[in-house]
């Protein structure tokens, strides 16, 4: 059983190079191996989830080096849940990419996809801060390749911006890790927790700086205001199936915040007490506000969905920044919901953009307009947080977790107002996309040769019905949302147990450091 913990990292690490080297000229074989790998990852993730259900924490020591000296992978409820979420998201996204033909519009899609999964899953499983940095780099370098998949000058330029922004983030990450190491002399998270808690309260300048720098790094990943500038341009210009996979990448930032600031710099730790939540809450509220205004002001469908991903990160981080077990449980539920929803909306956006271009202007009706508008409607309901889908439950949980907080009225006002703005923005976009198209007097816009993102790839592809696989995978994501709504009780029970485990890190520390 213990060896299975490393399987989610090893499997894509083997399949990726195999696709790259052995079958690089066989696109059908690449598809088979890529899908097989993701299906297998789902099975592994389910087994890991099953084993973490009883609340036990399991440790895999790389090279059999005991904990503070070697790197460990740790499986607890939180990691198991995030691994399951990643693999559940990866399968429909991969099937969509195959069904819509996106994977053949550039080279090495499947290999990069596997490396991306390896980085994300590794970041969720590792128990070592420097190893977390390495997995961040793995997932980033794969995302650079995926981001510019298919090419085009606008996409490449957005890609360069994205890379520069993230390289800066990586430098900051290294500086923060260096500062932490210079104070504590360790980088193992469990060991860090012990040593940070034992630091004298009067000599804390450097560790406080390091804690805030680390928060900045994770805030860049989670696209928290004012560090969100990379997200709209890169998500809107990335291939939409890739943007759908990137929906989990912002959650890696949120996961890292939740992990580091409950385990190492927890709410009870004297040296950094209250430091993080005080900064994070206003930033999260601003993120939510700016995201919803962005939805209202977006001129392209891709940017609209990207801004809606920012609003969902805002809501998620409000819940995280309260740092109570109840708010963490709400945050985890909302994280599952918002990942699936953002991915669903990105895939719907791709269906629309393939047919009529991404600009939010009236166009003649597109094929399969009814089906796509129904999907958009469902995604918009989930994103705005209206009943009956899981967004409503998620927002309700976040709000009720905010009730004991001293900032309760501010949080309520911001969350409810931005929900209204989001509804208006999504409605406006939907009515332009699907209703104004039936107006016969509207002329199609002239083809803009420069704008290689917004226009359909080829006229034949735009008019031909998309193979069923693409629709099946979009419906699979929708089914995931419905399941999350129906099974809200059991899922919430699991996230509550996860939050309990997070806010009582003694078991984690003792298991990793092998103390009886």
């Amino acid at each position: 059983m213990n060896n299975l913990i490393i399987a989610p990292i090893v499997l894509p690490a083997v399949v990726g190079p195999f696709i790259l080297m052995a079958i690089r000229f066989h696109s059908d074989l690449q598809r088979v191996f890529s899908v097989a790998s993701v299906v297998l990852l789902n099975l592994i993730a389910f087994t890991l989830l099953w084993h973490s259900m009883d609340g036990s924490i399991q440790v895999y020591e790389l090279g059999d080096w005991p904990a503070p000296f070697g790197i460990v992978l740790v499986l607890d409820r939180l990691s198991a849940m995030m691994v399951m979420l990643t693999t559940l998201l990866a399968l429909p996204v991969l099937l969509y990419a195959i069904g819509s033909g996106w994977d053949t519009r550039g080279r090495h899609f499947h290999a990069l996809f596997q490396f991306q999964l390896m980085g994300i899953l590794g970041a969720f499983l590792t128990g070592d801060a420097f190893n977390l940095f390495v997995f961040f780099e793995v997932l980033l370098i794969a995302s650079y390749g995926l981001m510019i998949h298919g090419g085009g000058s606008k996409r490449l330029r957005a890609g360069v911006q994205y890379v520069v922004y993230n390289l800066l983030g990586s430098s900051l990450f290294l500086i923060a890790l260096g500062a932490i190491y210079s104070v504590t002399g360790t980088l193992n998270m469990a060991d860090l927790a012990v040593r940070v808690a034992a630091l004298p309260v009067e000599d804390t300048a450097l560790i406080r700086v390091a804690a805030v720098l680390l928060l900045l790094v994770f805030a860049i990943k989670a696209a928290v205001l004012p560090l969100h500038f990379w997200l709209p341009a890169s998500y809107a210009n990335a291939p939409m199936p890739v943007a759908a996979l990137f929906a989990i990448m912002t959650k890696v930032g949120a996961y890292a915040i939740l992990r580091m600031y409950t385990l190492v710099f927890g709410p009870d730790v004297a040296v950094t007490q209250g430091l993080v939540g005080d900064w994070l809450l206003p930033a999260a509220l601003l993120t939510l506000t700016v995201g919803s205004i962005g939805i209202l002001g977006a001129k392209e469908l891709g940017r609209l969905v990207a801004f809606s991903a920012i609003t969902s990160m805002g809501t998620l981080l409000i819940a995280i920044s309260l740092f109570t077990p109840q708010s963490a449980a709400a945050a985890l539920y909302y994280a599952i919901h918002s990942t699936l929803t953002a991915a669903l909306l990105f895939l719907v956006a791709d269906l629309v953009m393939e047919r009529r271009g991404g600009k939010l202007i009236p166009c003649p009706a597109m094929p399969q307009s009814g089906l796509i508008s129904a999907l958009y409607f469902a995604g918009a309901i989930a994103m705005a947080g209206m009943p009956p889908l899981s967004g409503f439950i998620g927002k309700l949980l976040v709000l009720s977790a905010a009730w004991p907080s001293s900032e309760v009225w501010l949080i309520f006002a911001v969350v409810l107002t931005t929900s209204l703005i989001t509804i208006v923005g999504l409605t406006r976009a939907g009515s332009i996309l699907f209703w104004k198209s039936h107006d016969r007097s509207v002329q199609p816009p002239e083809d803009d040769e420069e704008d290689d993102i917004a226009k359909p790839v080829s006229p034949e592809l735009a008019s031909a019905p998309v193979p069923g696989l693409a629709f099946v995978s979009v419906f699979a994501l929708l089914a995931g949302l419905v399941a999350l709504t129906v099974l809200a009780g059991p899922v919430l029970k699991y996230t509550e147990a996860t939050a309990g485990q997070l806010f009582d890190p003694t078991a984690y520390i003792e298991t990793v450091l092998q103390r009886p």
């Binding site: 420097f130 390495v134 780099e137 370098i141 650079y144 390749g145 510019i148 090419g151 085009g152 000058s153 606008k154 490449l156 330029r157 957005a158 890609g159 360069v160 911006q161 890379v163 520069v164 390289l167 800066l168 990586s170 430098s171 290294l174 500086i175 890790l177 260096g178 500062a179 190491y181 210079s182 002399g185 980088l187 341009a233 420069e450």
Partner: protein, 113 residues
């Protein structure tokens, strides 16, 4: 020696950040590499400065220097080397596709051409 190392890290960081804020991709990439030098020097210093000491414990040596920062720096160097290569290739292809190496994106169509 501390002041020398600290000011070297500081100057490299300042220069790197100045270059990153430039408009063209080439200075930005140079800035990123300079920043990664600064980060690597800083990582070295986190193990405390020790001269002429072996990185392992032995009976003959009077002391030792912390080997972990050196391993970290090695990892960081490898990663930043790979990243620089990637960003160079992307910047180059963006330049060749757009005939323009400005790093910011403007909505102005005339600029994009």
């Amino acid at each position: 020696m501390e002041i020398l190392l600290a000011s070297a890290v500081g100057i490299l960081t300042a220069g790197g950040i100045y270059l990153i804020l430039r408009q063209r991709t080439f200075p930005v990439i140079l800035g990123l590499s300079i920043l990664s030098y600064a980060v690597n020097l800083f990582l070295f210093a986190t193990g405390r400065l020790a001269l002429n000491q072996p990185p392992i414990l032995s009976e003959h040596a009077t002391g030792y220097t912390d080997p972990i920062p050196q391993a970290l720096v090695l990892t960081a160097i490898v990663i930043s080397f790979g990243m620089t290569a990637v960003v160079l290739m992307m910047a180059l292809s963006a330049y060749l596709a757009a005939r323009d190496d400005r790093i910011d994106m403007s909505d102005d169509k005339g600029e994009d051409a």
